[in-house]
Amino acid sequence: MRKMLWAEWRKLRRSSIILLTVFATVLIAVIVLVAGRETTVDGFYLSDAGWYMTMVQPWATMFVLPAIVAMLGSYMICREEQDDTLKSLLLIPVNETTLTAAKMIVTFAISILIYLLLFAITFSVELLLHHTDLSVGMVLSFFKSYLLEGIGVFLAVSPIIALVSYTKKSYWLALLLAEIYSFAGLFMSMSSLTKTFYPITALLGVAGYYETTTTNLFESLFVLLLCGCLAALILVCHQRSGKEKKYHGK
């Protein structure tokens, strides 16, 4: 597995998808920064310490990053067929389940790294603007929140990654599906019930973006884990059907 993880990292070198991911992450930070310069009766939004770090979270999670993570994961799985490298890998031989597992682990790591990058950007801006008002507790709380969002986003979009890989469609489909899926979170956040059970809003609850009861927290956590299990199930079924087709198909 270590070799496979190393190989997956190497395969992403100079990848335009990684550049796109970084660009999207920076873009969302810039958009919220620009929005924060709007004035209110009390002055600029940005004049409040912590406002920027707080506001970037729903913007990133409901508009951009789930789609980016879904596209990245699907791209990593689909590219072996698109680049025609799968047959070379199978002739090594490489176990397809291990290969997909390695790709999912790398996607998971990238999802966390994206949110940590976002945290680094927002923290830097907050440090520049409000270095005297920031406390260690506040920064650590935001760090935990961003970290959990990174994990949660991966779990929430993992069924889409698996589904697109299963249907062997383009990874751009994953981007589209995940965009609709994350945008729908805006409407799901309007009711307490849907907010708890809809994966995108559930992850914000688990990350601590909004206050929630312990029961709701566990329910949201359960939903996210269920998403992860569903993705694993789809991928395992996909692999089994692929093997059966290979050996017994006509």
Binding site: M4, R10, R13, D84, K87, I92, K246, Y247, K250
Partner: protein, 346 residues
């Protein structure tokens, strides 16, 4: 006398072509007398009644392929004849509808971990990661294979004439460079058996010649067994020790190259009025025994060093009319055209 002639002609035809035409007109394979005696264990690849169908359409039909250890086996056929499908089935990359494949004496299914490290292969166009350089691509495959030799990547690239640690990305490679990188990947782990599907595709003439020398070197100097497919007759005839001709999914002939080369011979075609007298003159005055007779008036003399002027003069002197005398050259391509029943192979 006539019976004797006909028998001799038939025997000669079977001897040279290695073909037996059965009652139903089906061409079946047999080894010519020049074939070496080999035991079953000498086959690195053996297929038995290998068949692949897509719906009602058969892509490969009852193919019995025998690749001997340490030899170059050329699988020759037109585009779409079924060469790649056979190779994919041998490698377990596609399902087998019926029949069996043995590689290194065992079925690949269930023994992939033991068999694949002993095989290097290029199937169709070689696929690599476009955002990486050639070296980076090979490093990935070497690491995943667990290739022990520290300079394996460098050596493989050197062998195929590609630079090591070059900055050029795979997406910028020419077709020839891609093909070379594919070969480098196939030999990276020093396999015993190489399965190369049209490896010279996209190479320039010098590249093709280099690749040919390289493949010959692998077989002759390093004892590798090579199964190579091509639609280019000249390519296979310059490379292969054994040859299999496939057409519309059927293996029409499998024989040694030496046996097939016998058909690529020059001969003098004589049309004469009196066959027995002509034969007597040829045997007694010119000591020629290497000839064939057809239809009672046609003679095929395979000794082209004969002074045909003297032969014609001698025949006329003995009241044998010479209707025509012609130097002919029956090429391998003519032979392929004949057995595949259509246009030749480039």
């Amino acid at each position: 006398m006539k019976k004797f002639y006909l028998g001799k002609v038939m025997a000669r035809f079977v001897f040279y072509t290695g073909l037996v035409v059965g009652d139903a007109g089906i061409i079946s394979r047999h080894y010519s007398p020049e074939s070496e005696e080999i035991s079953m264990s000498d086959y690195l690849i053996e297929t038995k009644q290998l068949t692949k169908t897509y719906g009602d359409q058969a892509a490969v039909k009852d193919v019995n392929l025998h690749v001997k250890k340490g030899r170059i086996y050329g699988l020759l056929g037109r585009n779409g004849a079924g060469k790649t499908t056979i190779m994919k089935m041998i490698l377990g990359l596609t399902s087998i509808t019926s029949g069996e494949v043995d590689v290194f004496g065992q079925n690949i299914k269930g023994h992939e971990k033991r068999i694949y490290p002993r095989i290097g292969a290029i199937i169709e166009t070689p696929g690599f990661y476009p955002n990486l350089t050639g070296t980076e691509n090979l490093e990935i495959f070497a690491r995943l294979r667990g290739t022990a030799a520290p300079n394996a990547v460098k050596n493989a690239l050197k062998v195929v004439g590609l630079p090591y640690k070059d900055k050029k990305l795979f997406s910028k490679y020419s077709l020839g460079m891609k093909q070379r990188l594919g070969i480098a990947n196939a030999i990276l782990h020093d396999p015993e058996l190489l399965i190369l599907d049209e490896p010279t595709n996209g190479l320039d003439p010098i590249g093709i010649a280099e690749m040919r020398d390289f493949i010959k070197h692998l077989s002759a100097e390093r004892g590798k067994t090579i199964l190579i497919s091509s639609h280019i007759l000249s390519e296979i005839s310059l490379l292969a020790d054994d040859i299999g001709i496939i057409d519309h999914g059927t293996l029409l002939v499998e024989n040694t190259m030496k046996a097939l080369e016998k058909k690529n011979r020059k001969y003098v075609l004589l049309r004469i009025s009196d066959m027995p007298k002509a034969m007597l003159i040829l045997e007694q005055e010119f000591h020629v025994t290497n000839f064939d007779m057809y239809d009672g008036h046609t003679l095929c003399i395979y000794d082209t060093s004969l002074d045909m002027g003297a032969v014609n003069k001698a025949l006329v002197m003995h009241d044998v009319s010479v209707i025509s005398s012609q130097l002919c050259n029956d090429t391998l391509e003519d032979y392929f055209k004949r057995i595949t029943g259509g246009e030749g192979i480039a």
